[in-house]
Symmetry: C3
């Protein structure tokens, strides 16, 4: 386990589709830093995604530094260790890893290790995907499983965990005293 | 933004399928009013829905005034501005708007505006639909997106937001002092 | 209604797929009892399930007594009334009842009655399945409905209800004073 720190802090922001989780994380990080780094993990493959990326970018404005990286999230975090960082989102990163046949367990361990080295505030946005009916599709079921594991691992590393519902944050885990 | 009021109050009641959200909202409104108005937005098209509507109606009993309106929710709210009202539910209303090709964004703006004019207590029941695996069906994905946006908009207008899980209410947003 | 008791207590542990609900329930019961009884309701039919059962069993270790019972949950609870019991999980039990064409309503009533007779601590793990998009498949929709009803019924019997998200427990219902 990492030594407990009040600051710098890792925060996991969970929420369903269109729960307002990204906007919540953006607002938090803007209160902390003038020049935050935005790590976009989306592969801008399909038109739906391109539109969403464009909308998020316009909302953030020009003070953000944007880094697009769909696979090597750990490498990018390492390069920006002193910055205030928003990763949007872990679920898409996990999807990219699975589609490109990476070892997911190893990637998650490396991410967990890197998060312990953070020297600035890191907000990680992730989807809650396991509270609906179990999908019939075996791949979707597998994804559901791995995404749940990922959220547990990162929640256990994070100092704070926030669940966003209809734009409203609930604090699930609060930082412990050092 | 509307001027903040302690009363009359708008409450959004969120919850998954069969979470007990309607029953919770019914109980709340019965504590407030002897003759509440129930606005049913369901299109009683299929047998499954007819059965559910019948069950809800029997549960409510005869003291309620029931208005069935699948599209013009804003018009009905306007006509009953002084009443204690239960809208059951926003998700079906949204489905009806989409199927009948209405401008959803405009309809949501009008609803938000009308809620600011309420002179009685209004409870709006809505489904949480975005916490499962993303559906493969593009229409379902689109619906998921729009339903999430709707819940955010109405939650931001509401004085209180309650999330019901297995019949148990959690208060996500509480009324602010005037 | 059963007479309210501080102890022995019935606890319902809710959560999505891979939310950490089973692990949370295991930890709770190990704090209470040296020799807890684990009631596994899974039908070890498919390879995916066999793997999951094996993983859970290894995690628990040898101090547990394991009972495999996919249908007659009430009978097994009756036989172990004085024990600390973990039922994992109600959702699979419900699935088995439906597939074998049992009367679900009657089975749930019997379970509720039996829970009032418990003389030790009983933890029941159950899935939250209703917070995703409504499935197109009619059977899945029906299941979603019945699972929601079951969670409401058991939550109403339970002294405590806990919702686990990404491994983090939220207390939804706390025991009332006797």
């Amino acid at each position: 386990m990492a030594t407990k720190r009040a600051l710098p802090a890792v925060t996991l922001v969970l929420g369903g589709t269109r729960s307002g989780k990204s906007l919540y994380a953006e607002r938090c990080i803007k209160n902390i830093s003038q020049q935050p780094v935005y790590i976009a993990t989306a592969e801008p493959g399909d038109p739906e995604m391109i539109k969403r990326i464009k909308r998020h970018r316009e909302r953030r404005g020009s003070s953000w530094q944007t880094v697009e990286e769909s696979i090597d999230l750990v490498g990018v975090l390492k390069m920006h260790r002193k910055s205030a960082i928003l990763v949007d989102c872990l679920t898409l990163w996990l999807t990219n890893l699975i589609l490109a046949d990476y070892d997911v367990e190893e990637s998650l361990s490396k991410l967990a290790l890197e998060l312990r080295q953070a020297e600035g505030s890191v907000f990680l946005v992730s989807n809650e995907v396991g509270s609906g009916i179990m999908p019939e599709n075996a791949l979707a079921r597998k994804f559901c499983d791995v995404a749940g594991q990922m959220n547990q691992i990162i929640a256990s590393e994070a100092a704070s965990v926030v669940l966003v519902t209809a734009g409203i944050p609930q604090l699930l885990k609060v930082p412990q005293e050092v």
